[in-house]
């Protein structure tokens, strides 16, 4: 079924909201996991329940998971008004670029030329696969 056609500005607004929630969610979860530490070590020491407890007791993880849940519902809403062929590749590409920028700024990751090139290749690849 084709989605109801909506104005370009509104469509891109929906896509930006979807991508922003995904970027916030993934960065918060990545920050939470860095704070928790190596899950392999925690699982070796305290078993699977200990690892699950360590993850679930992180407030950053809970906020990040909430963002990911909101991202899911925002995507459902977007798909009801914007065509899948635009919404899926556009939101995925924006998420990859946004994640790289956010990882550099907020997580202080070393996003060197190699990683930027990889992000651009992924964006172009996602666009071509969706065609």
């Amino acid at each position: 079924m084709t989605a109801v056609h909506t104005s370009g500005l509104r469509a891109w607004g929906c896509i930006m909201v979807v991508a922003s929630l995904a970027i916030a969610g993934e960065c918060l979860i990545a920050a939470a996991m860095r704070g928790v530490g190596d899950l392999d070590d925690i699982r070796a020491e305290s078993g699977l329940p200990g690892a699950i407890k360590a993850v679930l007791s992180s407030p950053l993880f809970l906020i990040g998971a909430t963002c990911m849940a909101l991202n899911f519902f925002a995507m459902l809403f977007t798909l009801s008004t914007v065509d899948l062929s635009l919404a899926a590749p556009a939101s995925a590409s924006l998420t990859y670029v946004g994640n790289a920028a956010a990882a550099k700024v907020f997580l202080h990751e070393n996003v060197d030329r190699r990683r930027w090139l990889a992000v651009l290749c992924v964006c172009a690849g996602v666009y071509l696969i969706s065609k």
């Binding site: 997580l107 990683r115 990889a118 992924v122 172009a124 690849g125 071509l128 696969i129």
Partner: protein, 142 residues
């Protein structure tokens, strides 16, 4: 120090890559058997929980989330991201060789670009060094 991955950690990244597209494919197949769900037929969602494809899809997506979080605990977000994108390649190859669908030249080009992206990142370090944190760690150890 250059952070390289053990074979076990490459297996975790492989799980990140495979579980998401396979889980999505199983959910799609299960929901196709259940039929369209709308506001007047929300009970179908409960019915969907008893579909084996949906159940297996949910298990795989839980596996994806667990392996994704495990990977993020020892690797950078920008290192793990291309692994998730590799799922697009898995779906395209599954549709070509299992469902015998036609893949256009655009899609083959897209597959090549994502494979290149994974290659670029996999050759680099998996985790960013934070010297100030390392100094704090060694100070705490003393």
């Amino acid at each position: 120090m250059k952070h390289t991955l053990t074979p076990q950690r490459y297996l975790i990244l492989l799980a990140v890559t495979l579980t998401a597209p396979l889980g999505d494919a199983l959910l799609t197949r299960g929901m196709a058997q259940i039929g369209a769900v709308d506001l007047h037929h929300l009970g179908l969602l409960w019915h969907a929980l008893f579909n084996p494809y949906v159940d297996l899809g949910i298990v795989l997506l839980i596996g994806f989330f667990a392996s994704y979080m495990t990977a993020l605990s020892w690797a950078d977000l920008t290192f793990v991201m291309p692994s998730t994108a590799f799922g697009y390649v898995v779906v395209a190859l599954l549709s070509r060789f299992c469902l015998h669908e036609h893949l256009s030249a655009y899609r083959w080009a897209g597959i090549c670009l994502i494979v290149c992206a994974v290659g670029f990142v996999a050759n680099g370090p998996s985790l960013t060094e934070h010297p100030e944190l390392n100094r704090m760690d060694s100070g705490a150890a003393r």
